[in-house]
């Protein structure tokens, strides 16, 4: 302890890097930050760019992240990488799109939530499954 710290880079889809490192440079939102062991705790957003990692007795490594969050503790650093390019406007546009699609789908249907109908439909589906099951047990 003291000369190294643990680094995890994870994205929603996979774990990108995990191991002890000596030094790290990440593209934080307010400018690049270099992190040595025993850095003061920090939480920041990072931009898309290269994260430079120097592990002990190893060449410097470069890992690309498309933005995300960086958490720093004195001996553990976590980078939560985004898998998608995010921005407020982009997210907003996607939300509107999802809403619009739903509204469109809503137009062509009855208004009241018909539980009886819903249940009837489910019961029918369950009955079909049960019948299939029974038939299977009989060896047909």
């Amino acid at each position: 302890m003291g000369t190294i710290f643990h680094l995890d880079i994870v994205s929603a889809e996979e774990s990108i890097y995990s191991g002890p490192v000596e030094f790290l440079v990440a593209p934080a939102q307010m400018g690049e930050v270099g992190i040595y062991p025993r850095h003061t705790p920090m939480l920041t957003r990072i931009k898309s760019g290269m994260v430079r990692i120097k592990a002990q007795l190893k060449e410097e490594e470069l890992v690309y992240v498309s933005g995300g969050m960086l958490e720093v503790q004195p001996d553990v650093v976590t980078i939560l990488a985004d898998t998608a390019v995010r921005s407020h406007d982009l997210d907003e546009a996607k939300a509107l799109e999802a809403k619009r699609a739903a509204e469109e789908a809503m137009k062509n249907r009855e208004s009241e939530l018909d539980y009886a109908k819903a249940q009837a439909e489910l019961i029918e589906a369950m009955a079909q499954l049960a019948a299939i099951d029974k038939l299977r047990k009989r060896g047909h």
Binding site: S15, L43, L80, M126
Partner: protein, 294 residues
């Protein structure tokens, strides 16, 4: 030989069906492996972001994110329903939808309004058929739970919560237990439960200490971002699990269908042979009878 041609045709058609179900079984089996892998790969992120969120909620006291504040009165409920896009996967979607309908019935009996967000075609089709109010939807996810596709629909729900349109948000999906067993579950998503705001067990004791973070650029926006990502990660995980469940349920259903087709073929072959033999016997006895008559 009257019926035998028909039986032969029938056998042929059942054999064709069996070919299709067998192919689907094998496709589902290979997709299942990938889906399970994807589900496992998503875990480290879920765990890490959970730890960060936990640290943060302990560290920062002056700003409490709306996702953490429980509301006293619950009037409107948001529901996220995760289903598959395609059918032919046994009772998977039916089970989860039945759970949803039962729960919605109780909510409505208590005078709460329910709005749904549908992830997956089957749930959307069902919900719009029965007349639930659908606020947002994502369909056609394919075989990968792509977070870019989820963001929009999820944001509608999250914004609804922050803007007081919903007082509570639940998620329904199929939890993957093993290849043979999937279980429909309902989980509370918002407000985040205390259990969800505790670090995982792997989180070392040291990092359970209270950190006085430096926030860059400022606390509120960083915390907002992390909370949104945390909830998204939870939903992503649910979608990934549902996909693994879907593929294994389909594999099992298709295996059963192929086996059934095999049984039907055996039986039909038996009937075919019997009728063939009966025809031969009949012909023989006619010849013998004819010879005796001469």
């Amino acid at each position: 030989m009257a019926g035998s041609r028909e039986i032969r045709n029938k056998i042929k058609s059942v054999k064709n069906t069996q070919k299709i179900t067998r192919a689907m079984e094998m496709v589902a089996a290979s997709k299942m492996r990938k889906a399970q892998e994807r589900m496992k790969k998503a875990r480290p992120y879920g765990e890490k972001i959970r730890n960060v969120a936990a640290h943060m909620s302990r560290a920062n006291t002056e700003y409490r994110h709306p996702f953490l504040i429980a509301r006293d009165t619950v009037k409107r409920i948001g529901v996220i329903i995760v289903t598959s896009d395609k059918g032919l996967c046994g009772g998977l979607n039916t089970n989860v939808l039945r759970k949803v309908v039962n729960q919605m019935k109780t909510w409505q009996a208590e005078g709460e309004q329910v709005e749904v967000c549908c992830i997956g075609n089957k749930g959307l089709g069902f919900m719009s058929r029965v007349g639930a109010s659908v606020t947002s939807q994502v369909i056609g996810l394919g075989d990968t739970p792509d977070i870019t596709k989820l963001i929009g629909a999820v944001k509608v729900v999250l914004d609804g919560y922050t803007q007081d349109q919903f007082d509570r948000v639940y998620i329904f999906y199929n939890r993957f237990i093993n290849t043979m067993k999937q279980e429909p579950v309902m989980e509370q998503l918002l407000p985040l439960t205390d259990e969800r705001m505790q670090g995982s067990e792997q989180d070392s004791d040291k990092s359970k200490a209270i950190w006085d973070y430096i926030y860059e650029p400022e606390a509120k926006s960083v915390i907002d971002d992390i909370m949104v990502r945390y909830v998204e990660a939870l939903i992503y995980q649910a979608v990934a699990e549902n996909m693994a469940s879907e593929q294994s349920a389909r594999m099992v259903a298709m295996k059963a269908a192929s086996d059934n087709a095999g049984n039907v073929i055996n039986e039909l072959t038996l009937i075919y042979n019997k009728s063939r033999q009966a025809a031969i016997t009949k012909e023989l006895s006619e010849i013998v009878g004819g010879a005796a008559a001469v």
